[in-house]
């Protein structure tokens, strides 16, 4: 302790105090203040940049979500339209088919009716002709049969025989 006290130099102490004081003041003015201010500014700048980047990211996300939504809507609309079109097409086809069928049925029915009536007419004509032919034949046969007197008598007799029987 004695040695320490002996070593203590008031002059050096004084010089040190002055130098340190001046140094602190100078350093504050020329170094620490501008350095710390710049550091602060830079850190604030970084903070701001990070914040705005975060905001931009969020906005981007929102936009993307919007896009997704719009896309989904569009897709759904397209799907709906496609479905509608398909239904329409099927309806059209089935309608056309049924119409065609009924038309065809009608035509067939008409044809059948026509055929039937033609057939009837043909049969009727045939019957008439057959009747005429048979009468002609019968006339010729009768004429031939009744060319002689005895044959005429014979017939009258047979007919009379039939009448009596009845």
């Amino acid at each position: 302790m004695d040695q320490l006290l002996n070593d203590f130099s008031p002059g050096l102490f004084f010089m040190q105090a002055i130098i340190l004081l001046i140094l602190i003041l100078l350093m504050r003015k020329f170094a620490w203040k501008p350095i710390l201010n710049s550091l602060q500014d830079r850190e604030d700048g970084i903070q701001d940049a990070l914040k705005s980047a975060e905001e931009a990211r969020k906005e981007m996300q929102n936009l993307q979500a919007d896009n997704e939504r719009i896309l989904n809507e569009a897709r759904a609309e397209r799907d709906g339209m496609l479905k509608e079109a398909r239904e329409l097409k099927e309806n059209l086809i089935s309608e056309a088919k049924s119409e065609a069928k009924s038309e065809a049925d009608k035509i067939v029915a008409q044809a059948q009716a026509t055929i039937a009536s033609e057939k009837k007419a043909a049969i009727a004509e045939l019957k008439n002709q057959v009747a005429e032919l048979s009468i002609e034949i019968a006339e010729k046969v009768v004429r031939k049969e009744l060319s002689s007197k005895d044959k005429q008598l014979e017939l009258v007799e047979s007919m009379l025989g039939d009448v009596t029987l009845n």
Partner: protein
């Protein structure tokens, strides 16, 4: 690459300046015979180390023991002895002769200036302390040169860093190394200890003290032979700065905790008061002793280990003793580089801790 070139340029300039002054000085009037042999005994080595640890009035790089020639340069002596007396320390001739200035006579005795008569008589008391009057010594001693050098270095480096921000937010070159250090002091030392809202006011002091102590500690490890932070006057001054800053920034709560501790019974308050007052003083005291003791011990150990080369020569031979000394002093020097930072850190850390205690808001009361 550019950074490297620029730092190379600086290094060359510094080197040129140093060698230039050495050459000037050695060609000047610095060559005197001290007489005697090279330092080789235990006592001489002890005295040499002790001499190194003390402040000095001239700058000596190398002393030729054979011829007693000192290589270095003198420093101005400024004395207050009923008026300012200034002369160069070369007048003392390393304590061998009496220096005359303005009709008064002064002599160096163990690194201190005493007022003497024309013959330079130093009278000693029972404890071998001179009874001669000591004039107030404001000389530009070796320590003051060291401080000025450190201050100049700091001003140059950090004002360059400050200027660098004008060009853009990211510093370039050597400033890129300094910036993290400033941020380190701010974010690891000041902010957590003083508090987010109040730390800015103390940054000037804390940063200056941190770099001042660190640079001076590192300068002490160079062969220039500074021992500034291992000087008790310097550490006392640094600690007093902290002490006054703490006392002047102490708020109501701080003083209340010292003089009338809240939350304890009255007799306890009375007992605690002197203890707290003592604590107020022991905090800076521990600061000044810690820095002083660490740096002084570091210098002592490094020099002693270097001296092993001489003291062990007789036992182990020159090669072994030199090798041993080299390895050990290299090892301790590396540790001292760490200690240089550590002590600057601890001093700043504790200073900000004490400031933080003085400005803290006690919400819980």
């Amino acid at each position: 690459m550019k950074v490297f070139q620029r730092s190379l340029k600086y290094a060359t300039i510094v080197l040129l300046m140093l060698t230039g002054s050495v050459v000037c000085a050695s060609s000047g009037d610095e060559q005197h015979r001290v007489g005697g042999n090279p330092i080789d005994t235990q006592e001489e080595i002890n005295a040499y180390i002790k001499h190194h640890l003390q402040d000095s009035h001239d700058f000596t790089f190398y002393t030729n023991g054979e011829t007693g020639t000192h290589y270095g340069f003198p420093l101005p002596v400024i004395l207050w002895d009923g008026g300012i007396k200034t002369f160069m320390s070369s007048k003392f001739h390393h304590g061998e002769t009496v220096a005359e200035s303005g009709g008064s006579y002064y002599k160096l005795y163990h690194g201190k200036v005493y007022k003497t008569d024309a013959e330079g008589t130093i009278t000693l008391d029972d404890h071998d302390h001179p009874t001669n009057t000591k004039p107030l010594d404001f000389s530009i001693t070796k320590s003051v040169v060291g401080m000025l050098l450190a201050g100049l270095l700091m001003l140059l480096l950090f004002s360059a860093l400050a200027r660098g921000y004008k060009k853009g937010p990211i510093p370039s070159g050597f400033a890129r190394v300094l910036e993290p250090l400033v941020i380190y002091v701010r974010d690891e030392i000041a902010r957590p200890n003083i508090g987010e809202n109040k730390y800015r006011k103390y940054m000037g002091f804390l940063l200056t003290v941190f770099f001042f102590i660190w640079i001076l500690n590192l300068l002490g490890l160079t062969p220039l032979g500074f021992n500034v932070t291992g000087n008790i006057a310097v550490t006392v001054c640094l600690a007093l700065f902290t002490f006054f800053i703490v006392q002047f920034s102490g708020n109501k709560e701080y003083w209340k905790h010292i003089f009338w501790m809240p939350g304890v019974p009255v007799p306890m308050k009375i007992i605690l008061m002197p203890i707290e007052i003592l604590g107020m003083l022991t905090k800076p005291f521990s600061l000044l002793i810690r820095l002083f003791a660490n740096i002084t011990a570091g210098h002592f150990v490094v020099m002693s280990l270097i001296a092993l080369m001489i003291t062990m020569k007789a036992v182990f031979g020159p090669v072994a003793s030199t090798g041993m000394s080299l390895v050990l002093s290299l090892f301790i020097s590396v540790i001292e580089i760490l200690v240089a930072f550590l002590q600057a850190f601890i001093f700043t850390m504790l200073s900000s801790l004490f400031i933080g205690m003085a400005v803290a808001e006690h919400d819980h009361h």
